[in-house]
Amino acid sequence: MRRRSTRPPDHPRSMRGGTRATVALIALLSLSSSGCWYHRAEAPTPVRPAGLDSLAYTSWSFLWRSNRTRPSPECVSNALKEVTVRSNLAFSLIRAGTLGLIAPVRFERQCAAPMIDPPPGGQTASHGATHVSIGWGNVMNRDPAVDCDARPVREVAVRPNPLFDILTAATIGLVAPARIRAYCAPAPEPDAADLELLP
């Protein structure tokens, strides 16, 4: 066991209710002060990460084009387990202030492990769901990549939406909707099945 004091913390009744609420509020505010919130498109189980670094970069799009990302070259499987789309107050102000003319986001890509004989199912692309991040990413709704079912993601696109950007900037990320589409990896080739050891 970790060798630290096993003395119980301060007794809870030593703090009054109002103090507790204040402290909790401070905690919430301090978390929001990081100025960062995110959305995530994650291919569901059994797709899993390949354990490479999450390669992050800032993507700028112009003239209301979507921000798009694909696997990096060192991702041998050429498939993604997930893409996290991060934003912050500065990015949101740029997006909202230019009404989507200039649209920066930060992408973090997780390479997917090879998929041997992935089960059937999954669509070619998601429906381009509206993804809502509430409380600076502490609660999120249905995953945009869920329609990929058991297949990894090949590409993720974030479509500019000035109304969403204004709402996000106005609430400093407390409520952050985004229009995200995940393009799923193609179905396996017919011969890509696992082999018997001996015929």
Partner: protein, 513 residues
Amino acid sequence: MNQPSELTPQIVVAASRTWENWHESVKQKVVQRVSVWNRDPVRPSIPSYNATTAALQGLIRDALARGVELRAAGGGWSFSPVAATDGIVLNTLPLNYRFWLSDADLDPAWHGVADRLIFSQCGMSIAELSTALEQRGKSLTTSGASNGQTIAGAIGTGTHGSALEYGAIHDSVVALHLVTSPDRHIWLERASRPVAAASFVEALGAEFVADDDLFNAALVSLGSFGIVHGVMLEVEDLFWLRTWRRQYVEDEHVRAAVGRLDFSGLPAPPGIAPGTRPYFFQAIYNPYDRDGGPYLSLMYDHAADPGGPRPPRHDRWRPGDGAAELIAAVTDLSGGTLPPLGNLLVRTALPAVNGDTGTWGEVFWDTATRGRSAGLAFGIPLSHALTGVDLLHELNRDFRIPGVFALRYVRASPATLAFTRHADMTCVLEIDGSRSKRMLNLYDAAPLALAEAGIPFTLHWGKMHSPTPQLLRDMYGAEPITKWQAARRSLLPTAELRRTFSNRFLADCGLAG
């Protein structure tokens, strides 16, 4: 030295020299992070597998030459630093070949049939394994509830489930392919339970070793017996589980079920005969609602799909990465978890389930647990289950953790350092939740309290665990430790090899030498 060939795996060296585990409880600088990819990642073949064996031997040679540790990190799923190293971290996640066997691959003395065996490369995850097996009409017998571990990592740390007639995952393993040095790799199985034909082992180019003591020691190896490159597992025909979960008032019948696995008085779900022993059983206590009683999960197995709603796979809403950290911060700052918050969290996480039906992989599909969560798990004799959980409730009056107490049940394992070693049934008493200061303080206090109460315990290797040689001796006794060390010295005969496959955690255990 092997020459590069068209099958030579791709080695990817990460730019970053920082390694962090999945649950963000261990983070450290390392010499190098290396990923190995089979040359043709999606078309398994024995020649390609063998080329990867050679590449792993090359990595061991490199680590020896540089005088640094080499550690396969698996899924990084352990809360403890069991997989950590300041040397070379080997990322095995891309290594997920699997092979189905024929009867010709088996020793004639093997009691079973080939289609109940799978030979899996080390990096395959438990969730992925479940999916692969299901496609062949097969199933794992057990697994954890959260399944991002690799198969090698899961067995090396003693990952378990709560299937009442089975042991932990490693108890399904019948053979291991271990890469132990630059010029040696072995096929290890029990002499008392031979499984592989000589031709199979020759196809891998491995040295055949059949030895019960070596095998039992190498099962829960803590990643310290070389690199586990392949695992042969015994599996079952596909089956379906019907699940019921709700909160039960803690009367004598519920305590009999939780404390003795006596289901004779427990109200049976619809269509289940009273007193039927479930395939899977677990109890989760909300420490802020003791009067409401535990949440019991009962799962009954069926050889054919009995119908019923499928387990939900996708939540409409889910917590984000920072949710556990937020809960930890708020509860630390506000003097402990307030009962309304604790109740809200538990009710949200444990909704009632009424007859949902799914295969093992469909029921235990989650691999997405994120953030600063925490887990501590004691293995205790079943006879102490109720005393143990009562004691935790008592302790929590002072600590008021943001978490729950869970009881799971595992058949005793023959593995030398399995923490599920308490015969004939080990109760795994867990404290799970957000990683707050209060939680960590309870983790310090709980083992002392158990020891004071005279409850013998072991600690899950993959959960929060800060060992000392004395603690290890108290938990296992001297003999298993001596046997485990002797087995390790037998497979890693030089001090340099043992240093290469050691780490700080192993040294803290007193097992590194």
